[in-house]
């Protein structure tokens, strides 16, 4: 095997992966399937979030409600007098390949070179007579099941109502304003860019970013009973009984390294106009029906009940309910389940058919998101996708796969050209270089930002492989196989042989690296890398075997795996070591749990007797020392680890900690349920990873799985123990689980194979082996007896 691909080889790889990645992100839609039935008028209040106040221009991140069709998204203010939509496209990235290293051999990390996710457009609907101070009975709801934001209020005796949704079948945002009681709408619709574009009139604009990306957006508005007309740079409507505003937009981003991630033939403005015109041939009701059917097809695949809330809790709006949960210290099982469902709503809205979600998903309030709203490969992007499979949204995972596959040619090229730059402190001291890796931050242009992150490739691969374990999709495995193999090649070139002090034992250790994001910069054999690479090698072996490929290389990798050094417990601290040193070289309560990556998301450290007891104890001791109070994503990771250690109290408390209402930028949950990360006192920002990591932990408390083993209620907290159910939860090994419990014990578990054959199903000390063919299911009723 040539581990130094030639230029020709690189191009071949690029072409192949480009073809696999499929069509450009913003492309002509297939004719939508129009369901005949109207959507259900109302859904279970368990799937409704509601508020009694809107957002304003300055509070969009905390109070704006997110919508999205997987690519095109918006945060909406829902203010009666001024509906503001901050519109994003997942590909609306500044920057470029960014392949000129800084003097220290690391990557530039700015908005011009590396790039940043930015807003696509602002849509404003002004209704001068509907000032918030002049209306009564204001309420807005987010119907998680239907994917619709509804706002209602009374002005001078007339009930006004508006619906907002992001349709994937029609590839548009739709705002539909209606009223009951003889009211009329008079106002303006304004579409603005956010990058200083010159509008092409009131109904569309186009622009190009310095990095070369072209983009555009278009709107139209139509109503009945009044007039709607273009008036200079805006649309005015007068005396309308109802009004529908349709928006589309996108970029000419293409997930293809061979074309430098651009589709030069695509005119985004023209395409947006086409989509808007096509959608506007339908009534708002038709568009809604089409959207709801599409949304429900994903949403309804999974359900969760954690118990029953009180009437008093149900009477509170979502924000008051969060505050009451924190204040009264009384579990609110329906709120907690809704928090999980909200994350599924975000996943459906933010991760379909385009780029995956970065630090803020699709939702921004400006063009300068912290850390560029990028893909952080040392926990954050992985955490974003931990819940997709666990909560029955496996198809939403594909955006991450598509991304990695499309980036691979560029990652490979950049690694080959730049990783062993003599200025790069993390370069391979062996002098060898192969495969690919990434920086801590990655962009969609094939580039990295900030510092090199050698083990990032392994973590990405392991995340992609876990999706295979849930789905048993051979197609997926084939797509990710080049990523796994390239990462193995990288590590084959990078690992150093060393003799453990005081022994004659030779082991392989990772070259100089930084355990994210603390401690020494040049530590060899960091636990983080050892664990991730060990898992990578194991996954590669499985993949090669399953696909029947590269038997010889698989043997090589298996040999490397056997020789990898594994961390020990420090005699000084009693903790699992982070740096191949008995000393604590970092912050005791550091946010990252890098040395525990073998506990979660890895499976190497298990409290089931298969792992040496001192290792489990050392992991628990380290986790204890890290504490219970950190940023949202860090709490979520802690919760997942405690769930793995079967400590329901701590796992649940960390969930509760993340549900604390954020106040003045403090860590916690904003009114719109976005997780807020306190950057500094008084300044909190949105980080979406906790919105996915926390629900992943909630599921992990109810079911643990790895191929061949499913464990029911491993860490069921008292708060949820009275009665509950999980329906449609994928488990690793290729099954889907329906689980019901009562009084802390499973009453029924139904396992359906989506490709899995045999697995153990355990509860406590009892277990059962189940063998199924794909499509078959089995129901177990007596597990707790």
């Amino acid at each position: 095997m040539d581990i130094h691909p030639s230029r020709r080889g690189f191009l071949t790889l690029a072409a192949a992966t480009g073809a696999l990645a499929g069509l450009p992100a913003f492309t002509a839609s297939a004719a939508p399937q129009r369901p005949a039935d109207a959507p259900a008028a109302t859904t279970d209040p368990r799937h409704l979030l509601w508020w009694q106040a809107p957002a304003d221009d300055h509070s969009m991140i905390e109070q704006g409600l997110p919508v999205g069709n997987g690519r095109l998204g918006a945060l909406a203010s829902n203010d009666p007098g001024r509906e503001l939509l901050l519109v994003t496209d997942a590909t609306m990235w500044t920057g470029g390949l960014n392949d000129t290293l800084d003097a220290d051999g690391q990557f530039p990390y700015g908005r011009e070179d590396f790039g940043s996710l930015t807003l696509l457009a602002r849509l404003t609907v002004d209704l001068p007579d509907h000032d918030l101070s002049a209306v009564t009975g204001y309420r807005r709801t987010l119907d998680l099941a239907q994917g619709v934001v509804t706002t209602s209020y009374v002005r001078s005796g007339v009930t006004y109502r508006r619906e907002l949704f992001a349709s994937r079948p029609d590839d548009v945002l739709v705002l539909h304003l209606t009223q009951n009681g003889g009211g009329r709408y008079t106002g303006t619709v304004t579409l603005d860019g956010t990058h200083g574009e010159t509008p092409s009139g009131a109904e569309s604009f186009a622009g190009a970013l310095p990095g070369g990306l072209r983009y555009g957006a278009a709107i139209t508005a139509y109503g009945s009973g009044g007039s709607v007309r273009v008036d200079g740079t805006r649309i005015t409507f007068t005396g309308c009984k109802d009004l529908t505003v349709v928006l589309s937009g996108g970029t000419n981003y293409a997930p293809d390294a061979a074309t430098h991630y651009r589709d030069p033939s695509l005119d985004p403005e023209a395409l947006a106009r086409t989509k808007v015109r096509a959608a506007a041939r339908n009534s708002a009701d038709t568009l809604l029906r089409t959207h709801v059917a599409d949304h429900r097809a994903l949403y309804d695949a999974f359900d969760i009940s954690l118990g029953t809330s009180t009437a008093q809790q149900r009477a509170l709006d979502t924000w008051e309910r969060l505050r009451a949960r924190a204040r009264d210290g009384v579990p609110d099982p329906e709120l907690e389940a809704a928090y999980l469902q909200f994350s599924r709503y975000l996943m459906i809205s933010g991760s379909r058919g385009s780029l995956p979600m970065g630090l803020q998903g699709l939702w921004l309030d400006g063009n300068d998101p912290d850390w560029m709203g990028d893909y952080h490969t040392d926990i954050n992007i992985q955490m974003n996708y931990w819940m997709a499979d666990r909560a029955g949204l496996s198809s939403c995972f594909d955006a991450l796969t598509d991304y990695c596959v499309a980036q691979l040619p560029s990652w490979t090229d950049v690694t080959r050209r730049l990783f062993n730059d003599s200025r790069n402190r993390y370069r391979n001291s062996s002098g060898k270089n192969a495969g690919w890796t990434v920086a801590i931050s990655t962009n969609p242009h094939g580039g990295g930002g900030w510092w090199w992150h050698p083990a990032g490739n392994a973590w990405l691969c392991n995340t992609l492989f876990e999706h295979y374990e849930f789905t048993r999709s051979r197609g997926h495995l084939e797509r990710i196989y080049p990523l796994l193999k390239g990462a193995c090649e990288f590590w084959e070139a990078r690992l150093l042989t060393t003799t453990l002090p005081g022994t004659s034992r030779e082991v392989l250790i990772a070259d100089s690296d930084w355990s994210p994001e603390q401690g020494p910069l040049d530590a060899k054999g960091i636990t983080y890398a050892q664990e991730l690479v060990r898992a990578l090698f194991g996954n590669y072996a499985t993949a090669a075997a399953e696909l029947g490929r590269d038997r010889g290389y698989a043997d090589t990798v298996a040999g490397l795996r056997d020789r990898l050094y594994l961390p020990v417990v420090s005699p000084t601290t009693g903790w699992l070591e982070e740096w191949m040193s008995p000393d604590n070289l970092g912050e005791t309560t550091h946010r990252h749990l890098s040395p525990l990556v073998g506990l979660f998301p890895g499976d190497r450290i298990r409290p089931d007797g298969s792992t040496p007891a001192d290792i489990v104890a050392g992991a628990a001791a380290l986790l204890t020392a890290r504490g219970m109070e950190s940023f949202g994503w860090a709490n979520a990771w802690r919760s997942l680890c405690w769930a793995r250690l079967k400590n329901p109290d701590k796992a649940y408390q960390l969930v509760v900690n993340n549900l604390r209402p954020s106040s003045g930028g403090s860590n916690g949950t904003a009114p719109n349920l976005f997780d807020i990360y306190q950057v500094e006192r008084g300044r909190g920002i949105f980080q979406i990873d906790a919105n996915f990591g926390t629900p992943a932990a909630m599921v992990e408390m109810l079911v643990y799985s790895r191929p061949g083993h499913v464990e029911l209620l491993p860490a069921l907290p008292d708060a949820w123990s009275a009665a509950g159910a999980l329906t449609g939860a994928p488990v690793r090994g290729g099954f889907v689980l329906d689980l019901a419990w009562r009084d802390g014990r499973p009453t029924e578990a139904r396992l359906r194979s989506v490709g899995g054959r045999t697995t153990e199903v355990a509860y406590g000390s009892r277990s059962r082996t189940v063998t199924l063919k794909p499509g078959e299911s089995v129901t177990l009723k007596d597990l707790a007896r």
Binding site: H58, L132, D328
Partner: protein, 630 residues
């Protein structure tokens, strides 16, 4: 008639005397052609000589036979003041240097605009603020008697002509002076005092020339010296002689950022009242700024209004800004509330809501600003450019329902909830309705709820939206509305339910548990004449055995004493605490009440007041727990 004892007449007698004086003043002010014949025939017209000195104050002998003209400050006064525009860096306002807006031409222009746009709604005073006697370089000018005299560039026609113009429009004229003898008026101590044989400026100040007022710009007047009252008399005579109806005395202490003997201007204010009375002209005396609440009795005794806070102006590119310092009034007003009433009002300063761009406020902030001023019964005088009011500003300033709240015979509102970002203020009106204002002081929109139980009743009530002139129908239990950032709503609530029943628990009860420094103390105003105080550094009061029949959120009314605004962490049972700020009760002898939502379970509960926050918590008198939850 105007004997020295006049100032110490009982209030009732004082008011009667003022009515007489006002009658006389009106007769002076109103041009003959428009004068009410009834007044004209029952009052003696004083004459003013050309130098602006008033007549010698012959008494108005006859009691009016027509209904008495309103007493001074029977209601909060309404009008316009020059200072907001003078103090602003808004483009174009002060082209000739700081404060140069103040000119005769501008005052007359604003007078005409006030008459045309706002007079019909009750706005009547046109108040000239600081600088009328100062040149563009802010150098003061004085007459031969050490009295401020008009700067000829600013006011080429003199101050009397301006007052005459204002009066000709059917309006009242206001003017301004600083407390004390301005240093530049001292003139080596040899400047004679008008109409005071042998008195010179050296005879009215302390020999050490100690300074006074908020800027230390004047020598402190020594009222132990017989000449000193004469100097005030001379200023008052000049002012009244010009025909002014209103005087703002500024830099008054204790207050105006000053304390201590040198800055105690109570005697100045008393002298002014006496001097005004001696002029025979009714002259509204308003004091400024940030007057010491500890002297509220003095201010009430000698004046018609007092600024409770610092300047509302921001001295920036707009007239005001929310943070500097409209928002301060929400915390600084409640302690003063009970001191307001006919004859003297809590002055929150200018109401600059007439032009959004110039004011520097959002629409929501402007409405909130006007709402607080209205319900607190602050004087309503705008500092806006009345020639440039925008539609929204004009609507705010001329909303008759809101003006009626301010001008009607209703008491000022005060908070019925803690001073949290979302807060509710209310007043119970003589007709049984309530004035209820919802405020969202947070920087983001929020829902705000007024619970009827916080007002003292349960069940249904009809709600009238005053700003929007709409009946919102009947609401049960309370009303929740979405408010924009810094937003407000203003309602009249007419109860149709029943009186709230509740159970009281005394803080000092031996059934309670005190922690840390907390201790029982005497309190004559408190129920049971005891309270629990010394709640600081984590001291706690746990009220035990609070029994309710049904689980739910209860609006627990807390009776407390707190001479300044203080916070306490309140929790029920083992639940998490919520920090609430209790508005000042103004002193340590007054009990006020606010209602706090507390979640209780059916059966026995405990409610804890914890002082773990910064500083002290308020002293707690008792709590009252309604029979039914929210």
């Amino acid at each position: 008639m105007r004997s020295p004892s006049y100032a110490v007449l009982p209030a009732r007698g004082l008011r009667a005397a003022v009515v007489l004086a006002l009658t006389a003043g009106l007769a002076t002010a109103i041009p003959a052609a428009h004068a009410d014949p009834a007044i004209a025939t029952t009052a003696t017209t004083d004459t003013a000589d050309a130098t602006g000195t008033a007549g010698t104050g012959q008494a108005a002998p006859a009691a009016p036979t027509t209904p008495a003209a309103p007493a001074l400050a029977a209601k909060p006064y309404m009008g316009w003041s020059s200072w907001s525009m003078q103090s602003s860096k808004y483009p174009g306002l002060n082209p000739d240097g700081d404060f140069s807006y103040l000119t005769e031409a501008n005052v007359l222009k604003q007078t005409d605009a006030l008459a045309a746009k706002l007079k019909d709604f009750g706005y009547e005073y046109v108040n000239i603020d600081s600088g009328w006697w100062r040149d563009r370089a802010w150098k003061p000018e004085f007459d031969a008697y050490g009295r401020q005299q008009a700067d000829p560039v600013r006011f080429p026609s003199g101050m009397k002509a301006v007052a005459d113009h204002i009066h000709a429009k059917g309006l009242k004229a206001g003017i301004y002076l600083p407390a004390g003898l301005e240093k530049e008026a001292y003139g080596d101590g040899k400047t004679p005092v008008w109409n005071a044989d042998g008195c010179t400026t050296a005879d009215i100040v302390y020999s050490d020339l100690r300074t006074t007022n908020g800027w230390d710009s004047a020598y402190k007047l020594d009222f132990a010296k017989p000449c000193t009252q004469k100097y005030i008399d001379s200023q008052a005579q000049l002012t009244a002689g010009w025909g002014y109806d209103f005087l703002k005395l500024d830099g008054v202490g204790p207050g105006s950022s000053k304390s201590g003997d040198n800055y105690d201007n109570v005697a100045d204010v008393a002298a002014w009242q006496q001097a005004i009375a001696a002029t025979g002209r009714p002259l509204h005396l308003e004091l400024s700024w940030s007057l010491d609440i500890g002297h509220a009795g003095d201010w009430k005794k000698y004046s018609n209004g007092w600024r409770v806070d610092t300047d509302v102006e921001c001295y920036c590119n707009t007239l005001v800004s929310w943070e500097n310092s409209v928002d301060d009034r929400f915390d600084d007003t409640p302690g003063w509330t009970r001191h307001a009433g006919p004859g003297g009002w809590n002055d929150l300063d200018s109401l600059d809501v007439g032009n959004g761009a110039m004011d520097g406020l959002t629409k929501a902030e402007r409405q909130t600003y006007a709402t607080l001023w209205a319900i607190a019964k602050s004087p309503l005088y705008t500092g806006d450019d009345l020639t440039r009011l925008d539609d929204y500003g004009l609507a705010l300033l001329t909303n008759r329902e809101v003006i009626a709240v301010n001008q009607g015979d209703t008491p000022p509102a005060r908070p019925v909830t803690p001073s949290d970002p979302q807060q509710v203020w209310a007043a119970k009106n003589p007709d049984g309705t309530y004035t209820v204002a919802l405020f969202n002081l947070a920087d983001a929109p929020a829902a705000v709820t007024a619970d009827w139980s916080a007002l003292g009743f349960t069940g249904k009530a009809a709600v009238r939206d005053l700003w929007n002139h709409e009946n919102l129908g009947t609401r049960r239990g309370g009303i929740t509305e979405a408010l924009p950032a810094h937003g407000s709503r203003l309602f009249t609530v007419t109860p149709h339910g029943s009186t709230l029943t509740s159970t009281a628990y005394e803080a000092e009860s031996t059934a309670n548990t005190l922690g840390g420094n907390a201790s029982v103390a005497g309190c004559s105003a408190c129920s049971g004449e005891k309270k629990v105080g010394n709640l600081y550094l984590g001291g706690t009061l746990r009220i035990n055995d609070v029994v309710v029949a049904k689980a739910g959120t209860y609006l627990v009314q807390v009776a407390y004493v707190s001479g300044d605004a203080r916070s306490a962490d309140i929790s029920a049972n083992s639940g998490g605490a919520v920090r609430h700020t209790f508005p000042s009760t103004g002193d340590w002898g007054t009990v006020e009440r606010v209602s706090v939502p507390v979640t209780l379970r059916a059966g026995t509960n405990s409610i804890t007041f914890d002082s773990s926050g910064p500083g002290y918590a308020p002293d707690i008198d008792r709590i009252s727990v309604p029979t039914s939850p929210r």
